[in-house]
Subunit: 238 residues, 2 copies
């Protein structure tokens, strides 16, 4: 019995030291999924590219099974397409799908604005309103799209957080990760940033007044406007 204890203590498991001050895993990035997701969303891998399991397994230093499991999730999220026995390719948005997405996004973003307005005190939107009245306006004038996109991301995040509806948040995220690259190309269309800025300000003003219905309608109008812009310039962005 004592021997058993000894055996236990001396078992060949390597230092894992979860409780200890050591870093828990060896250098390799544990989250294959997250990395792949970001690469695809940011289009660091071009749509249509083939994803080879062996290649990725070697790069990440993990067995192929891990890659496979990550593929399974990415397929569910429609970020990649898998054809049996032929592998996985990065999904590409076709035009009709984009318009379908925008129809859905319209009502979801509208709901998000309404819930956010209902859930928190109107004054809490003052800082965002200031941001969109001052600095963001300057960003647009200077054609500083990175700053504009950062502000926009802030806007979305604040609304989703205030809306406090995980189901909604998840759906918006799943939409957003598919269209992120597209949005960047819409923003730089001539005049779009100006219009978007004005529309966002209108939404925020309604929220500042605590008018949830108006906020919903204005956010929906904003989405419809974006969709119209897209329709007009579709040949340039897709």
């Amino acid at each position: 019995m004592a021997q058993k204890v000894v055996a236990m203590a001396s078992r060949p498991s390597r230092a894992r030291g979860t409780g200890g001050g050591r870093n828990r895993r060896r250098t390799a990035a544990p989250n294959v999924l997250q990395v792949l997701r970001e690469r695809i969303v940011r289009q660091e891998i071009a749509p249509g590219s083939k994803l080879r399991e062996n290649e990725l397994a070697q790069e990440f230093g993990v067995p192929r099974t891990r890659i496979r499991e990550a593929f399974s999730v990415l397929e569910q999220r429609e970020l990649i397409e898998r054809i049996p026995n032929r592998g996985a390719v990065v999904a590409r948005l076709d035009l009709s799908q984009v318009f379908h997405i925008y129809d859905v996004r319209e009502v979801l973003e509208g709901l998000c604005a309404r819930l956010a307005t209902q859930n928190v005190a109107p004054e809490s939107w003052q800082d965002l309103l200031d941001l969109f009245s001052g600095p963001m306006k300057k960003s647009v004038e200077k054609n500083d799209f990175d700053a504009f996109l950062a502000g926009y991301a802030n806007f979305r995040q604040r609304l989703a957080s205030a809306a406090d509806n995980p189901v909604l948040t998840q759906m918006l995220d799943s939409i957003y990760e598919k269209t992120q690259a597209l949005i960047r190309r819409i923003i730089i269309l001539p005049g779009r940033a100006e219009i978007g800025l004005r529309e966002h300000r209108a939404v925020l003003e309604a929220m500042r007044k605590g008018d949830a219905e108006a906020a919903e309608q204005l956010r929906r109008a904003n989405m419809r406007s974006a969709k119209e812009y897209l329709r007009q310039f579709q040949k340039y962005v897709l």
Copy 2:
């Protein structure tokens, strides 16, 4: 072309062991995922039950890896919950999540009604309107809930099909598979079927007139009403 097929058929290696002839994987290729999904949705397995990989692998006659892969998908759809090293359990809806779902469902079903109205000729809704004016009314009077649910399923399916938006359809499906069991319990609440019937008829009448905006608003009102009923009777259905 035909030659290609011949080449395929004459490939030498077919050492599958079964060797019985032409049938490749006849019996043992059950769609594990589909079966598990239905069992969970229909609550043939109770929420909170533990799902053992080995058990299922043996039952389906497939290696554990398959079960594992199915689990991965079910987890993504939030039909099960997996805790590392502790296994998978059937997800259970808690009350707050249900209300979150209904807020989202309100706007999505509204969108679905609007798109359906816009996409097809108003006359094409006549048969559904007749169904909800005649037979469905009888079903409610006779407390024939199965018939009522079948008609309701028909209604939803027709609208989704006419809306012709795969993104929307998928989101509604993912919501529906989580709440299917709940809906059956709402329907049998005192008076709910009558109210639902009236509201659905109102939606269909708007669609019959080609009034997409009204159809959207009425469908949303219908969802809000269902949510209110749920709030009122929450202690009895959850």
